[in-house]
Symmetry: C2
Subunit: 663 residues, 2 copies
């Protein structure tokens, strides 16, 4: 810890009331400056550096800090609490909390059952798999997970991606058994991938899906998903198997003769009902239960309508027979051999990372709302284990769902018990209520999906991106159009690519500024930004606002020389004092590599040939270390490195003045 | 220009002699601080920002600055000089310069002729192509190029890469005609690629091949090339067509029965001779001509030996008949259709980028030695045009060669005329001296290649990398082993990947430090680095040394909260003054994106819940702009943003003190 080497200055006893006092003129300031040495960071061996770096990469949150200085028994309890957070809250659990959890659990169950059936269809899986996936995973999560508000189950994006990726290679209608095996295998790999990310503490990988790209990706996926529902909503039988915008739209209008008006009227009425319910809940958050209960209501009403008018209404397809009973084991269906192993692995990794992103983001959002912490890496292990176990009990990829978690939170969930209530409700459904779904029309599932995903299109966030950061907006657009017109995977790849490119672009073309002194202070700031800042004769003070890397070293060298050239031209035109010294303020240079070091050497040499001195100011620890180790500093001599710009100017301007007035 | 808005403070008239004067105690310092407003950068429209960014990306060196405020005639002359630098130096050319150029031209010709033949064999091309490639391109470069010391011709790395890439798909012995066509086509594409990089001002792309990776890549390629020469040196006939380390070595020892002792003795003797000559020239730079003349000497002596003893010595393969005459046109051989178009394109781009990297690097090195500037983007156009024209006149990829340029420089080259002399000498050779090469043994070419490439293995640079920057060293190693054991392209891809990964790693896990005050000054520095720096009660001052991006926003949030937690634990143990405020010094935060902005908001909210104030200090222009535009600053209120840490502390500590002593 840092506490050790600090000796606090006690300013509390001084009088700090009169803050705005007049300041002495600049000359006095320069006089009163003492020259400080630029220190190297404490010496470290290669091993220590490596250890420090690795611990920063893998254990930035110091996850074991609670275990320090504890007795063995206490450590055991803490360990148990760490791996099974249920032990953390179970002792303090009360009937009052339980009542809240039962209400919220029943509420999300009414949403989860129709959504489960719908999302399974989105992944081209039998509807019953969606119900199975809403039973086992919530139970496991209640035991392992550290979020109190996450409602676990199948989610739209992961379902869509799994469906579209598997469908590309194998038809769910022609080879339903292999397709199902592959879905379970992909789920297994997703779980393994998620758990290993957590165990290897590589959770930061999901950070590379930046918020901006996720906004675009989600919106694109939502449109793709909604378009897919046109099949059910219009009652089309021969629908394209492609997912992209263009083929789907053309398929819709090519198959006009298949449009079924019964289906369309029913679908649209329920869609309008669901959207209205959603709108009401959005306007008045207290009425959240209206949109939460709407899907189940729709299912019940539509089933009833079909049941009553089944003789009159033809051509509306229904879910049909669903087997009664709890999840059958499916470990024997996992598929670990050619030719589809690669496909399952790829699908698993992509759905795994997508569902992880959603789950972690949702968990963090609600944790921050309710002021508790969620450990990202630990959550990944929980979600991973949940999916691995799920793949052996007829479940496909599950994670924390955004829409259901929001309902869970609004309904007053207090702990993971709401997930247990959800699982219990699904269990009752599985055991006794399956025949009820026989007459449920498929069109209603389409309406439910559209309502769910349309809320994911966050155009306001996109507008904000445009206002704040154009490049983020472009990343968002790329992801959106990539998903819409090319494919989900390519869209995702483009989005990550654009995000990384953005970092590289910023590194490749960093900002360089001319600094000037704010009169009467020690402050040196950007001349263009601070109107009162002024130049110092003899000196050109340049600030670099980026690390100096191979990717920008050539640029920086050219750019800095251009500043010098422009400054000299300005001096010539305005007959100013001759330029003597270029000060490079390295405060904002957060890192340097070997190419960067060569640039500094090169720059010093070039400036020297023009009789200009190069002075470095305030390199950060890492940069200072490298400047020393590469022996670059040696060529700078004694007056080439200062702690502040002010000290450099104070120390050097006397010399220059003397030179100027020499006989 | 910046000159406009500056009013220079004249410190020259003040007395700045007594620099080290005692400083007033801290309290006085705090009193005398005036609070400055943090300014926004000058307001710009989206279009202006875009224009500024694009001009920084594409025209950082302001290439047209010479043309400003000039008459039309002057502009015309400048334009001519810009496109044909020959007009720049030709008017001042003198006989004295010409004498130097003739000497250096003849010297590099004696090196270029044997090397040209050798490198053509490296690319699996007929030896005569190597001579053709040493005739037309130097002439063109003399007209277009801006470097005065670059010796142009075929180079080892590009030859090797072209040979290995084309050989993978088509055999140079079975389909020599198609192979040759593809080589010319690849050269054409290389030229187009190089010229377009220059024209589109995308020259910075070659910067992504960092120095560190190039060291590893070159060393690996040098070993691969040397191993390939074992075929000639040992006289093996049935040699593997693979390039990797393992198959080549196993092939060498599998074909032991083919080893020809005549060849081995001859090859080794000349290899020892060449290496000794090289060593002498390295020790005494004045004797550069020894290593420069050695290859031609070897060729002459070995040819003479074979010619004289041709009856006695059997089994030493010789170059054989070479057609006499200048470059035949080859535009009709360019190959723009299936099935090999993709291969030619790929080979062209990779050899193009590699030869460009070498050419530009060599040009820059000598320009900096002799204190003149080389415009990277313009050079790219010159090299590109040279290769495009070359592909139509039976030349393959050429660029500035490192070894020959070094010899050129040592021999006293003064201008591009040395390239013209080189071309003239090659012309004489092509017209009259071709029969001389009939008896030149192939083994001597192998010895010449090994001597040339062995100098490219820069192990001292690798050692320096290890000492200065471990990650650069790893990038170097990856490139080295990638080339050696996998393939040239994969090695290159790995090297670029590692370099980019290094940037991302640095962004993903940035450095955060606790700052303290250096007593008696306004300076706040890293507590661990500056022993004299001390903490300020009530305050925790954190510095972030990196941009805040999506890739590190989660990490930073966790890391900063950990600092706060550790600080509070320290205070509890040591009974210090309670923590009241966390100051975030943003000086080194060079950029922020929308995820980063959310992190700040999130952090402020989390700290507020713990009754801690968050204060931002000195954001750079771009960050300040985004903080404002996203309305993040509004939530900070009036005392949430300061220009310096000192001002923030002065302004806030009074309030905290008052709170503490409240009844």
């Amino acid at each position: 810890m840092v506490g050790g080497n600090s000796n606090r200055v006690d300013v509390t006893n001084h009088d700090v009331d009169h803050v705005k006092v007049s300041i002495p003129p600049l000359s006095n300031h320069l006089q009163s400056i003492e020259i400080h040495k630029v220190c190297l960071p404490p010496n470290k061996t290669t091993f220590q550096t490596l250890k420090h770096r690795l611990s920063e990469i893998f254990f930035p949150d110091d996850p074991l800090h609670k275990f320090k200085n504890q007795t063995f028994y206490k450590k055991l309890v803490l360990g148990l609490e760490y791996f099974f957070p249920i032990f953390l809250w179970a002792p303090h659990y009360s009937f009052k909390l339980f009542r809240s959890d039962v209400i919220s659990g029943l509420t999300i169950a009414s949403l989860a059952i129709p959504q489960g059936i719908s999302y399974a269809k989105l992944a081209n899986l039998p509807p019953i798999i969606g119900l199975y996936s809403s039973f086992v995973p919530p139970l496991l999560y209640a035991l392992l997970g550290s979020s109190r508000h996450l409602a676990v189950g199948p989610v739209s994006i992961a379902s869509l991606v799994m469906g579209s990726m598997l469908e590309e290679s194998i038809s769910p209608t022609e080879n339903p058994e292999i397709y199902l095996s592959l879905a379970f295998t992909a789920t297994f790999f997703a779980g393994v991938f998620q758990a290993s990310l957590g165990l290897l503490r590589l959770g930061f990988i999901i950070d590379f899906l930046s918020k901006a790209t996720l906004i675009g990706f989600t919106a694109g996926a939502a449109i793709i998903v909604s378009l897919q529902q046109l099949k059910g909503l219009l009652g089309i039988v021969h629908f394209t198997t492609k997912m992209q915008f263009v083929p789907v739209i053309s398929s819709v209008f090519h198959e006009k003769n298949e449009w079924s008006w019964h289906t369309i009227v029913m679908g649209l009425s329920f869609l309008v009902f669901l959207l209205t319910a959603r709108q009401i809940s959005m306007r008045k958050p207290k009425l959240f239960w209206i949109s939460a209960a709407a899907p189940l209501t729709c299912v019940l009403i539509s089933t009833l309508i079909i049941f009553i008018f089944k003789a009159q209404i033809k051509g509306i397809s229904t879910i049909g027979h669903l087997p009664r009973g709890v999840n059958p084991p499916s470990a024997n269906m996992l598929y670990f051999h050619a030719p589809y192993l690669g496909l399952a692995l790829k699908t698993g990794i992509i759905t795994g990372i997508l569902s992880l992103t959603e789950g972690i983001a949702v968990g963090r959002t609600f944790a921050s709302l309710k002021n508790y912490q969620v450990d990202g890496n630990k959550e990944m292990v929980s979600i991973g284990v949940m999916n691995m176990a799920g793949s052996c009990t007829s479940c496909y990829v599950t994670t924390g769902s955004f829409s259901r978690s929001a309902v869970n939170n609004s309904a007053g969930a207090q702990s993971a018990v709401s997930n247990i209530v959800l699982a219990a409700t699904v269990l009752v459904t599985l055991l006794f209520l399956m025949p009820l779904f026989y007459y449920t029309p498929n069109v209603i599932l389409g309406a439910i999906i559209i309502t769910a995903v349309i809320g994911l299109i966050d155009y306001q966030a996109a507008v904000k991106l445009w206002r704040v950061d154009k490049l983020d907006f472009i990343a968002c657009l790329c992801a959106f159009f990539g998903v819409l017109f090319i494919s989900v995977q390519i869209g995702l790849a483009i989005a990550v690519g654009v995000s990384v490119f953005k970092i590289l672009l910023n590194v490749t073309r960093p900002n360089t500024v001319i600094l000037g002194n704010i009169p009467g202070t020690h402050i040196y700031q950007n001349l263009r930004r601070y109107g009162e800042a002024s130049r110092i004769p003899f000196f050109l003070i340049l600030g670099i606002e980026s690390p100096i890397y191979f990717a920008n070293s050539t640029y920086l060298q050219e750019r800095l020389l251009r500043w010098v050239r422009e400054e000299e031209e300005w001096i010539q035109t305005n007959k100013g004092s001759p330029l003597k010294c270029v000060i490079l303020d390295l405060t904002s240079v957060s890192a340097i590599d070997t190419s960067g070091l060569e640039t500094i050497v090169e720059l010093r040499r070039t400036l020297e040939k023009r009789s200009l001195q190069l002075v470095l100011v305030n390199p950060v620890g890492g940069v200072m270390e490298k400047l020393c180790r590469s022996k670059v500093l040696e060529s700078f001599g004694t007056s080439g490195l200062y702690l502040t710009v002010g000290e450099a100017i104070a120390d050097l301007s006397a010399t220059y003045k003397a030179q100027l007035y020499l006989p």
